[in-house]
Amino acid sequence: MYSNAYIFRYASIMVILVAAILSSAAMLLKPMQQRNEAVDKMQSILAAAGIPDVSAGDAIKLFNQNVTNMIVIDNKGNIIDDFTAEGKQDSKAFKINPKDELYKKSQGKDFELAMYVINLNGEKIYIIPLRGVGLWGPVWGNIALKDDFNTVVGVTFGHKSETPGLGAEIETPIFEDQFPGKTLFDETGKFKSVRVMKGGVANLSAADQFHAVDAITGGTITSNGVSDMLQNVLESYVPYFKKQV
């Protein structure tokens, strides 16, 4: 039989050893993991602007070639940082975490937002990072707008753990391809966002069809999450849009 003292000693030494192993593994691998996350973010941004299937090896190069400005704006629509040099992955705009900023927004505090400008075939495209909640966990994405700050060029979505075959369909082309051509504002200049709605966009009036896409059958809560995410994030940029046009 083992004494209680032995068991305590055994457990303590084991825990300390394991802690040391795990923290050194985490520290050793951290730089590579952060690089992978940055590359993944760049691929997603480029895909939203219409440069899909960028390989992980080319992402940093292509990102720096195509992106001209990395902008940070405050919640009143003023530009507070505009980064144009090489090494855009180190700019302030790239490091802003939309989750933290949207939390500040929900608390009624001042917050900062990121925006990326891509020059594609002579046209300026503005890309906005999105962040919201789905059914099981966070959903995120990027939305690309034309320089009228109204027309959608493209979107990409991602999610942590939405239901495969149902909510997880938000990251498929079938869903994402509905967005290009939609508009954020109606003719009177009122902010409408793009809603993900049940019941069929085809049944809406011609004017409303520009502000809605079809939801996913069986993925109602994820669809609503995407809809709320678009509304919540894009409305924060409205002061900036108004100053531009």
Partner: protein
């Protein structure tokens, strides 16, 4: 003088070979013991994640078996399950971190399921049933064998589901575009977990009908 020398067992004696090979067919953890089904349903929609998951589980079962076997004489029986869990959890976290650093896209697809290797009954079962009472080398073989037995089924299920569900193998399209023009459609049901269960059921059926040893008397 001591002339009676104990015969050293060769590394791959018939007994050790059996440890390595029997989990692949007659003692397969998924199709015969029906363990580890949960992850087998979740990560087999495509072949590549299924393969990476298999390799991860092989690494974890092999190393966990080896470590527990090395420690087996010092582990206090009253906290042995906790010790086993700590060893498994440590290995799984390290595997997860390595995947995030080296194969980020696959790790994104596997998401929480790598972490859930901790709860895979195969690993815990092998530690408790084998490694706690066996020498390190047989334990290592037993771990690798059970990991491979699990992995083979995962990859086979992944192959079938990807072929009929997405029309591709290992991410490369294999169904000719002409088929789609003629009205062929990918089977969406193949992507959903229930189909994985049905495929595993079919594999169990085929395996039992070919192996008399597996017939159950009732």
């Amino acid at each position: 003088m001591n002339t009676v020398k104990r015969e050293k067992e060769p590394l791959f004696s018939p007994k050790n070979r059996k440890l390595l090979l029997s989990p692949i067919n007659l003692n397969n953890p998924i199709t015969v013991q029906v363990l580890g089904i949960c992850s087998a349903l979740a990560v087999t929609a495509k072949m590549k994640p299924a393969f990476v998951m298999s390799v991860s589980v092989i690494v974890v079962t092999a190393l966990a078996n080896l470590i527990i076997s090395l420690l087996r004489n010092g582990i206090p029986p009253r906290i042995r399950i906790i010790v086993q869990l700590v060893v498994i959890a440590t290995l799984v976290i390290v595997v997860d971190q390595v995947l995030k650093a080296y194969v980020y896209d696959v790790s994104k697809q596997l998401s929480v399921f790598v972490g859930l290797i901790i709860t895979n009954c195969i690993i815990m079962g092998r530690l408790e049933a084998f490694a706690m009472s066996s020498k390190p080398w047989p334990s290592l073989l037993d771990g690798i064998g059970n990991g491979i037995g699990y992995g083979i089924i995962l990859v086979v299920v992944g192959f079938v589901r990807e072929l009929f569900g997405s029309g591709s193998v290992w991410g490369y399209p294999v169904v000719p575009a002409g088929f789609f023009e003629m009205g062929y459609r990918n089977n969406g049901f193949m992507i959903l977990p229930p189909m994985a269960l049905i495929i595993i059921g079919i594999i169990i059926w085929i395996q039992r009908s070919r192996n008399k040893e597996l017939y159950q008397e009732n």
